[in-house]
Every structure is written in structure tokens, then in C-alpha cells.
Symmetry: C2
């Protein structure tokens, strides 16, 4: 189950697909279960003898396990190559770093594009609806299967941060620390609204075929591209869009038509078109649904602090970005307040940046410093 991939000369990657035996099903919040379960993953660095240096990296909505290695479809560097690597905050020389593809995803983990063993055909919409807690349960199964008793840290941004919170609620005994970046403890009405626009765009595409596009040999690329475009606007701040593009034109003068006159139009179209090459439309539906269903307080009697009652020994770090309007600083503060109310140890940093939500994987010196400091002190506290 281990394939060596050295496509990025800087970082040695081990990874592949972890196949659980058929009897080890993944129990889902919906009441359904998934079997056989497969988890796509990559690891960087080596597990130490004490098995105390493992860090789990959780990805965002459209991320994957290629956190620090070349993406097999796009050929682009890993999405967190500013954070994971020699000399970076997550240094493979010091830590054993594990990145997995979430259940419901489309890069190797069991998802709606997988084969349903009951029919021998692609699941499509017969795939069960999954939750953030289901994603985390699958990760916990993998960590256990890898023989790791507890994680030095679980870390992630955006949906990755929600997984971090869920880890702290469900498996605090397996966590030494938790780093939640640019996330929220629940999806707001506006968050749900943007996701619903994306889902409707996909479902409006006749090539979606009620989710059964695979059997028809087509793909709802146009709808998925529109969904990505709408979502992408929420990942950038207004200031960042204005600074990057403003009203700059593609060519001299206006076209007086519907070509992409403005650079921001061309950029968005490119974001949409390149996304469909690497992502599955049904996976987009399922993962956005998991996000919309996420409400950690609701899982604990409506009181967020209750979610963290068992996590008092976990060292928390909560980070937000000042210009993030998808998951704002106010939402991170809500998390910190709940952690404080639960008696947890939490440090909180709002990073001043105009880059918006996507700042968590962009070149952001204060993020680098904060992560470096936190992981360093955490590792020292655990004697690494």
C-alpha cells in the first residue's frame, strides 16, 4: 500500500491508497456505513521511535492529500508547499506529516465517483451523505491502522480547520495539539447560500444527468465551472481582487461584447475551467453538503464549549485572517471563547492581511512565524 513518489525533488513523499478490509466499515452519521473504505494519503518525513511526532494535515473543500507533493493531474506543487518542507514550519526532518483525502473526495478516498460494491457501478447520488465527523472518523481509522497512538498535532485551514475542531471534540485523547486556521464552528446562512448556488449550477447542467453522468460518458463541466467561479470570489477579499485586477482590461479598449474584457473575468473563467480537470462534480456536491451540515455546537446540546469539555489537555492554536469574509475573525473568536469557557488552553492570532480566506496557503509571513512558533514549542513540550 506504499508507493514511493519523488516527483518533487525537495520532499520525499510516500503515499498511495490505504485499503481497509471489508469488515472494517466506516460508520456514518447518516446511519449508513461505507465498505470497503479506501483513503488516499501522502506522508512526508518519518515516524520516530516514540511515535510521538505525527502531524495530520486536513485539507479544505477542494484540496487533497497532495499537500506538499506535485499534483498528479495539474502538475502543480502541493497546495501547502509554503508550510510543509525542509526549513518550513512543518519540517519533514522533524515531523511525520500525514495528509489524507477526505471521504467523499475524488483523489483516492472512497467517494461518489468510487465503485459501489453492491452494484459494481459508480455510486453517483447513491453515495451516502457524509459529514465532517465522518471525514474525521475515517482519518482516525487510518491513524490507528498506521499504528500511531496519538497525534502531535492536527492542523488545517478552512474545512480543514473544521476537521481539527471535530477531532478535538471526538478524539481529544489522541491529540497533543490542534491548529485551526480560518474556519468556523458552523456554517452560516451566507455560507450555505453560496454553496447552494454552486450545487444548483451543477444540477442545472444537463450533463449532470441526476448525478449519473459517468454512466452516460459525459461530465457537467460547465455547471461545475460556474460553481467554482462563485465560490472563488468568496476566497478572496474585495481588496485583494481590487489590488490584483481592479478594472484592468485584457486588451486595449472594451470589446463591446461578452468576451472577457476585464482581467478579473478572464481570471475567474480560468479558475472555473482548470478546476473541472481535477475535480468531480458529485464530490463537490457531497463535500459542500458536509460543510453546510457542520454545526459543532448543535452536536453538543447547542453549547459550543461542551464540544471541548474533554479536550482540556489539548494545546489549541486558533488563527484567523483580518480580511477573510468567508469565515471571519468573529467566528474564530467564537471558537476561542468556547475553548476558554471549556477551560482549554488556546492561543489566538488574527493575522492582518488583505488576501482574504485563501491567505492560509499563500505567502504570509505572519502565518509562517505563528505556525513555526507554535509547532516548535509544542514539539519541545512533547520532547521532540
Amino acid at each position: 500500500m506504499d508507493a514511493k513518489d519523488q516527483s518533487d525533488p525537495a520532499i520525499e513523499t510516500h503515499g498511495g491508497t490505504w485499503r481497509f478490509p471489508a469488515e472494517t466499515a466506516l460508520r456514518l452519521d447518516s446511519g449508513a456505513s461505507l465498505s470497503p473504505l479506501e483513503i488516499g494519503y501522502n506522508t512526508y518525513g518519518a515516524l520516530n521511535a516514540a511515535k510521538s511526532n505525527a502531524i495530520l494535515v486536513c485539507h479544505a473543500l477542494t484540496g487533497d492529500q497532495y499537500a506538499a507533493s506535485t499534483h498528479p493531474v495539474t502538475g502543480k506543487p502541493g497546495w501547502w508547499n509554503k508550510v510543509i518542507g525542509p526549513g518550513l514550519p512543518l519540517d519533514p526532518d522533524r515531523y511525520f506529516i500525514i495528509a489524507t483525502n477526505v471521504v467523499g473526495g475524488c483523489m483516492g478516498s472512497t467517494g461518489p465517483a468510487s465503485i459501489d460494491p453492491a452494484t459494481g457501478k459508480v455510486y453517483g447520488l447513491s453515495f451516502p451523505v457524509i459529514t465532517i465527523a465522518d471525514m474525521v472518523r475515517a482519518q482516525a481509522m487510518l491513524i490507528e491502522a498506521m499504528g500511531i497512538p496519538s497525534l502531535l498535532a492536527v492542523v488545517g485551514g478552512s474545512m480543514g480547520g473544521m476537521q481539527v475542531l471535530q477531532w478535538a471534540a471526538d478524539y481529544p485523547e489522541k491529540l497533543f495539539s490542534a491548529v485551526c486556521i480560518g474556519a468556523a464552528a458552523r456554517h452560516s446562512a451566507q455560507n450555505i447560500a453560496f454553496h447552494e448556488v454552486g450545487r444548483q449550477a451543477i444540477m442545472a447542467d444537463p450533463d449532470w444527468r441526476g448525478g449519473a453522468y459517468d454512466a452516460a460518458g459525459v461530465r457537467p463541466d460547465k455547471g461545475l465551472a460556474v460553481a467554482r467561479m462563485a465560490a472563488h470570489i468568496t476566497y478572496l477579499s474585495e481588496e485583494a481582487l481590487q489590488r490584483k485586477f481592479g478594472r484592468e482590461l485584457q486588451r486595449d479598449g472594451l470589446s463591446w461584447g461578452f468576451d472577457a474584457d476585464f482581467q478579473v473575468e478572464s481570471y475567474l473563467r480560468h479558475q472555473g475551467q482548470s478546476f473541472v480537470d481535477r475535480f468531480d462534480a458529485n464530490a463537490y456536491l457531497y463535500i459542500t453538503r458536509a460543510l453546510d451540515y457542520f454545526d459543532l455546537a448543535a452536536q453538543h446540546g447547542g453549547v459550543l464549549a461542551q464540544a471541548f469539555q474533554r479536550a482540556r489537555a489539548v494545546r489549541f492554536c486558533v488563527l484567523s485572517f483580518s480580511s477573510d469574509w468567508l469565515y471571519s475573525t468573529a467566528e474564530s473568536r467564537d471558537i476561542v471563547r468556547a475553548l476558554n469557557a471549556a477551560g482549554c488552553r488556546a492561543s489566538f492570532v488574527e493575522i492582518e492581511t488583505d488576501k482574504g480566506h485563501d491567505a492560509f496557503f499563500l505567502d504570509e509571513p505572519e502565518l509562517d512565524r505563528t505556525l513555526r512558533g507554535f509547532f516548535n514549542s509544542t514539539a519541545q513540550a512533547r520532547g521532540i
Copy 2:
């Protein structure tokens, strides 16, 4: 050209379609011209003997001339029935109120769904791209044809506010006052981005047929509905969405599927579906394009104050809403700064509300008070 419509018992409406003779073409910024030109309009109240009490109401992106009368398609009250009516800030007993459908629209004015006289067929994408200045030029033609030498006021919110600014720049000698509500002097990168998502959603619908859907007997309703859903999110503040819907469910419990579980999803779907009954997809493309092209400073050597150099005698009122993130208070302040720099008389009010951009036609007491006071003092200053 005048049809009486008393469907709303409270307000007497006169209106219909104003048909300009073929030789009176509308010259367009693109270099093209439109002929014959038709303008859909409604009026409320009567022009006084001095012809000094006329107020032009400019509508927003999806508005129309049914500002204070029952909409013929939806059967709903006029979109500005909180502002126009007996005892309201724009009282037909005192003012002669004119509301027109913009050129490029789909409620009676010449637009992409009109018949192209050159071919005898619906224009579709052969309709020329129009601008805010073109809309205003057509309105000025109508005002002149009605025998009104100058307007007591021109007033509008959102795109209506942009028309107000364009009026002040192009026809200051025909204006006594100008009221610009929740608008901006130019479309930002984020504004353009949201519109581009909507256009791509329409164009992705196979029933759009490259704009020639009329000839094919189909309509790109699904794409247009998605466009409306995406845009509608920008009309409401995050707080308003949270207050109205939060995470409230449609039914008891989650569906564990892709039905509208959350009330906000159901609301958005309804917004999309009801919109397609009253709006033309190509008109949506053309009007969003006009908005994206709008940049009043660029029309005047890059200096916004230059646009208002000839408007020193016009009394301006600029209004913004604190929670409007589509056209923010900062953008209204830019307008006020330019008016000040040009030596114009401008009052500015930021209305505290959590209702977002759409506050301009919702029940908003401070808006009512401000408009009432401004129109009253303006009318008194003109001896009405």
C-alpha cells in the same frame, strides 16, 4: 401612447410605451445607434403649469417602470411603493413622478428581446452593448419629448444611483437636484466578478443557444435562475441572512440528501425560480455589462470630480447603507469627496441598518425621513 391603469387603487398610474419616430435614433456609446426607440414608462401625479415638479425615478438592475404600480407579470406591488405614494416622500399629489424601463431592459423599452427592424427577428446578441450613459441619454430624450425642460430631481438606488450620477455629469443643466442611493461611481473587481458568474451561468445553459433562444422556442431559465441566486446573496448583508434564516431547517431534521434542507436554500431557489418568470436572460447579460462598463471617472480623464464640474448648481443627496457590501459606504464617500472637490452642494447620510444593499426599497425609517426631508426642502427651494 397613454394607457390608464388603476390596478392599484391608491395611486393613479399613466403609462405605456413611448415610441420615438424612426428618424430620432438613440446614439450609443459603442458607436451604434438604435431606431426606432421605444421606452416603457409609468407616471404618477400631474405636471404642474410651471413644469417644475417632475421627478425621474431610475431603477436598479432588475427593476422596471412599475415603481409604484402593480407589476403586470408578478401581480406584486411596485418595487418602490414604500417611497412613492400619497403621504410618502414622493407624493403624486405634489410631484409628477416618471419611471422608465432602461434601454436594454425587457419591460417595454427597446432591448435584446425586441424586434430588430433590419431583420424582422428578435435582436438577441445582435443587440448593441449599451452603457449607463446610453440609458440616461434615452431618458433625456423622453423627458424632452414630454416637454419637460428640467427635472426637480432624478433619484435612484443601486444601478439607479449610477444613472443619477451620469445625469449629473451629462445633463446638469436639466437637473435641480440629484439623489444617489447605495451606488458607486464605478464597478469594482468584485462587482464585475459576481456579474461574470451570472453571465457564465446563463451562457452555460444549453437553452441559451448563443442568445438565440427565442427563435428556438426555449428559455435558459435554469442558468438565469442560478445567476439570480448568486446575485441575490450580494443584495443582503450577512447579518440579515443570519437573522432571517440562520441555520433554520425546512422540516424537522436533515434530509441527508440534496433537497433544500435549510430555509435559506429554499428562499434562494424561490428567488431564482420566480425571477425567470419576469426577466429576459439576454437583458440580464446586457444590463450587467452596462454596469461593469460603468466608470464615471474614466469618462473624465480619470478624475471623478471632473464629472461634476458643470453640476455646481445641482443639489446632491448621497445615501449609503452601513451593511451594504455590494456598493459600500466607502464608495459613496468617494462620490461625496468628488462632489466636494468639484464645489458641488452635497449632503451625505450613511443609514445604519443590517439589511444590506436591498435596504433601499425595504421598510427603513431613516431612509424615509431623509428622502422626505430632502425632497421637501428641494421642492420649497423651487417654490413648489
